[in-house]
């Protein structure tokens, strides 16, 4: 219970002024520009876009600057900003197979059409701190290799040819996917709505849940079938023009997780899949999302629900870090009346306890004598 409390205005104003001062820090150090944040802290920007559920690099960079680098606070700022803008419509579903690929790897096939393209990855680095970065040494551009351009095929297309893997076929195009922004959440959620929720879910939470599935909670035996990062074209249908207008490109990370089998008396066994798709470059998040997506399909695939990652109410209700931080941090708000009530209660209980002790004490004395 909250009560209206007067007072503290001056303290709050001064606290915010102090926050602005501390945010700026030592004035002899140059202020960060948004371009610097967007260019050099790009993966932090990507995380804010992904969990803020808003693709706009510059806004995400601004949010990071304003939040002093606290990414969950920055995500909160972006989510709040989103609500001030009108929604013009929806894009056509993006075609990730036509992605301008910057990285594509598969842990299932060594030689797959398009090859293993490592791209700008932290993998195989030695995780040793580089003292050179303490300065501003010249950095060489990436090497180039003039190859005949080979199309980068999907893992599902390779396995799908033999029917070894389940296929995701397009449903009725008339059916609108649910939108968690516009409809209250009611469980069970469709897979489409779960994916929307997971895509903006907290990376740490999904990572921990995904990890737990690997350790035996909802065992689904995953292979990283394919991870790809790159830009896709976005088109928005224009009613004035009568065709879909190209509005630019966005960078996405996609993960196809290949998991163990599902079959029945009628259908031959085949691999199942978990799917991850997130804004920007974030394969850890996309992989965690794919693990969680697969675990959440337990009921659909006739598996026993035995672990938290398979429980959609548990996963979806707790994966949003803006909601989570709101509820955890609301504990800082004045709960003076609540606390007074509990204080009264604990005093009464202690009085009763003391009384009981006093009553039993003479008996004990007697027993001792």
């Amino acid at each position: 219970m909250y009560v209206a409390v007067k007072g503290g205005e001056a303290a709050i104003d001064n606290a915010h002024r102090l926050l602005a001062d501390r945010r700026r820090g030592d004035r002899s150090v140059p202020a960060l520009t948004l371009d610097q944040i967007a260019e050099q802290l790009a993966l932090g920007v990507d995380r804010v876009m992904s969990e803020g559920s808003l693709y706009d690099r510059r806004l995400a960079a601004l949010a990071i600057k304003q939040a002093r680098g606290d990414l969950i606070e920055a995500i909160f700022l972006v989510r709040a900003y989103r609500t001030t803008l009108p929604r013009f419509g929806c894009s056509e579903p993006v075609d990730t197979s036509a992605m301008m690929v910057e990285r594509r790897i598969s842990a299932c096939y060594k030689d797959l059409p398009g090859g293993q393209l490592l791209g700008p990855t932290f993998d195989y680095t030695h995780r040793l701190l580089d003292e050179e970065l303490d300065g501003d040494a010249e950095v060489e551009p990436g090497h180039q290799r003039a190859d005949a351009h080979e199309p980068v095929s999907r893992i599902a297309d390779i396995l799908g040819g033999e029917g070894l893997i389940e296929e995701d076929l397009e449903q009725s195009p008339l059916e609108e996917p649910g939108d968690i922004n516009q409809t209250p959440m009611e469980f069970p959620l469709s897979r489409a709505m779960r994916l929307q929720s997971l895509s903006r879910g907290d990376e740490g939470f999904l990572l921990a849940l995904g990890y737990s599935t690997q350790r035996g909670y909802a065992r689904s035996h995953p292979f990283a079938g394919e991870i790809r990062i790159g830009e896709v074209e976005v088109e928005v249908f224009s009613p004035e023009l009568g065709f879909a207008v190209p509005v630019g490109r966005v960078q996405l990370t996609e993960c196809q997780m290949v998991n163990q089998f599902k079959g029945s008396a009628k259908a031959a066994p085949q691999f199942t899949r978990g799917y991850g798709l997130v804004f920007g470059q974030s394969e850890r998040k996309a992989m965690a999302m794919a693990l969680c997506d697969r675990a959440l399909r337990a009921e659909e695939l006739g598996e026993d629900i035995v672990a938290p990652p398979q429980d959609q109410e548990f996963v979806i209700s707790h994966c949003d870090n803006v909601q989570a931080t709101g509820f955890v941090e609301h504990l800082k708000l004045p709960h003076y009346v609540d606390f007074q009530a509990e204080l009264g209660l604990v005093r009464a209980m202690r009085a009763e306890h003391a009384e009981r002790q006093a009553e039993s004490l003479p008996d004990m004395k007697e027993a001792a004598e």
Partner: protein, 151 residues
Amino acid sequence: MEAEAHIAARKNRMSVLARCKAGRLQELWDGLGLSPVHRTLRGPESGLVMLRGRVGGTGEAFNLGEATVTRASVKLEDGSVGHAMALGRDGAKARLSAIIDALCQNLETAVLIDAEMIAPMRAELERADETRRQQTAATRVDFFTMVRGED
């Protein structure tokens, strides 16, 4: 058939206008020395579009998350209407893109704009793409098999 070609040309132009840098667009526009009288029908206004993906990459559509977009519509004195929409929040660029789209409804002007603005910008964007593609290609793993000695 002609209508289809017209739509394809318009989409191509819009794709370049949406992706180009605002500064470069303005520079090429200034070079043309056109200043058509126009009336704003809409915007420029910023808002959101919900980006959609497909379950598993090929299945039913799902809502991935929103993106900022800015759109504008203009009408020229001769009645041609132009529209523009691009990711981001650059109103001036959206307005100029809509004017260019309107001007290109006249086939002669379209030829001029395509040659003087769209073609060079497209070439620059394609060059940048090619550089990235080649940089990615340089990170392709070339597997080789270790030959074991006689045992």
